[in-house]
């Protein structure tokens, strides 16, 4: 019940921010992306399509988006509050909520309490990270008459390096134990490399390659699959 209320609160907050954004003239970013995967890992989604929306205000930003892959729908919302927000350093905290529906086999909900940090100018080299305490609860209809839900506490971590060239091209890479629409229980890390081009008119184009591993902390080193995605966006 508490979880359901949290989810509803998250959705209401996001809708309020989304609807009021044009009124207050805050900056926004909308991106449409698509991707495909290859590999031998478990149930790799062949095709993924996502729509993501960011709203930036002073000392805070909001993210909302959804992704559809074959057999699964994910919705994620996130708010970050920045206590320090300078060009060369930033520090803040945030909350994230994700819901994923495994079409036919259940659903899961993730809640993150996170700290965010960033250091270095983006024109030289910027390092950013986040670390989170996570809570997942999963509902599996086949056992629901006996087990209402399964709950998992966990940790999540993301590291990223990026650098901008000629004020247009942003090159980034890093590793993360989760992705914005993918929330394994713990260290099934993704290594990613990407390139973002920003046109002066506000349009963007992005491409990214990600390598997704299975349980790498036990050094079993199995590449689940490789994902390639591309997106177009606009800042307004």
């Amino acid at each position: 019940m508490i979880m359901k209320r949290c989810r509803i609160l998250f959705i209401l907050c996001y809708l309020f921010v989304f609807l009021s954004a044009p009124v207050f003239g805050v900056s926004q970013f909308l991106e449409l992306s698509a991707g495909t995967n290859g590999g031998t890992g478990f149930a790799k989604p062949f095709f993924a399509f996502s729509l993501s929306h960011n709203i930036f205000i002073k000392k805070a930003d909001f993210f909302g988006g959804f992704q559809y892959t074959l057999g699964q729908i994910d919705v994620t919302g996130r708010v970050r509050i920045w206590l320090v927000q300078k060009e060369s350093a930033a520090f803040g905290f945030g909350l994230l909520q994700h819901s994923g529906w495994f079409l036919g086999d259940g659903r899961e909900h993730d809640f993150f309490g996170s700290v965010y940090g960033s250091i270095g100018s983006i024109s030289r080299c910027n390092f950013s990270f986040d670390a989170s305490y996570t809570y997942k609860y999963s509902v599996i209809p086949a056992i629901r008459s006996s087990v209402k839900f399964l709950s998992d506490n966990g940790l999540a971590l993301s590291l990223r390096l990026q650098r901008e060239f000629a004020s247009r091209l942003l090159f980034y890479g890093g590793m993360s134990s989760y992705e914005i629409y993918r929330f394994p229980l713990f260290l099934m890390p993704t290594y990613f490399l990407g390139l973002l081009y920003s046109h002066p008119a506000g349009l963007t184009a992005r491409s990214q390659i990600s390598v997704r591993y299975s349980d790498q902390l036990t050094l079993t080193a199995y590449v689940n699959y490789i994902s390639i995605s591309a997106g177009v966006g606009c800042k307004f």
Binding site: T40, G41, F42, A43, K44, Q72, G100, F102, D105, G106, E108, K136, S138, I140, P141, A142, I143, S145, S146, V147, L150, S151, D152, N153, G154, L155, F183, P184, L185, F186, L187, M188, S214, D215, Q216, L217, T218, L219, T220, A221, Y222, V223, N224
Partner: protein
Amino acid sequence: MKFNVLIPLLFIMLFSSCKMGLKEFFWRSSDVSSRSTEITDIAVPQTILSKQSYKILLIADIHYSDVTSNPESVLFDWLDSLEEDEVPDFCIVLGDMTNYGFEKEYTMYDSFVSRLDTFDIPVLGLLGNHDIYNSGWDYWIKYVKPQTAYYRFSTPEYSWYFLDSANGTLGEAQFNNLIEELLNDKKQKIIFSHYPLYGDGIFYFTLLDSRERAKLIAAFADNDVLYYFAGHKHDGGIFDYGSFFEAGIKAFVNTKIEGYFNDNGYWAVLSVDENTGTFSCDEYWAQDLSVSSIF
């Protein structure tokens, strides 16, 4: 799961990781998608061919190496002390026979199996994550029966499945094949795997892809699975899903982290009566041979 358990374990892994084949951190040549794609049907252990009730010795996480120890002498003394009809009919080792996957460690395991053979206890093995370190798979198929990591045998009433979860996932091919085999198999099933499914929320030592986990749990619940046995997490963990039961078998290796683990290993005995359809499982602690019931 308690984070205070994880932190000492992380340090242990960090400081011992060089021997774990760090050069294979990003790539191993033999992964689950090449090892285990279709189930292999094997013969029922000879020792239970004519029996309707029998006992199975369950051993998890032996971790043979130069730097570990285990209570095998206690186990053999205990076997010596049993009446003939109390001696287990066969043994299942639930993965991590070795610590680093070296051939020398596999020969230590081979000696252990030979000694069990003197009690007329044949041994079947499951593949664990430690067994594939340092390209250990090549030795696993040489030393560990039945020389395959994904297999099954059938008794009159039950089907016994052994999964390859050594990479922390079943991989797409094994997963799809397993689902198909479960659907086509009308018998009740008992599953063995190195990685636990959930084990009462043990955080790290489970299958980490929650979607894979959800689909497996749904498939087991819908296809007459009775029990799921696992190793990997050294202090065990049980969970009742209603339609089936998960039992994590505590490690056989002697482990001592002050305040977390006891310093002597465990084994378990699963008793099966196919006439009455009853199962019971008892856990033995090598420290004092105390017995406690898992179910």
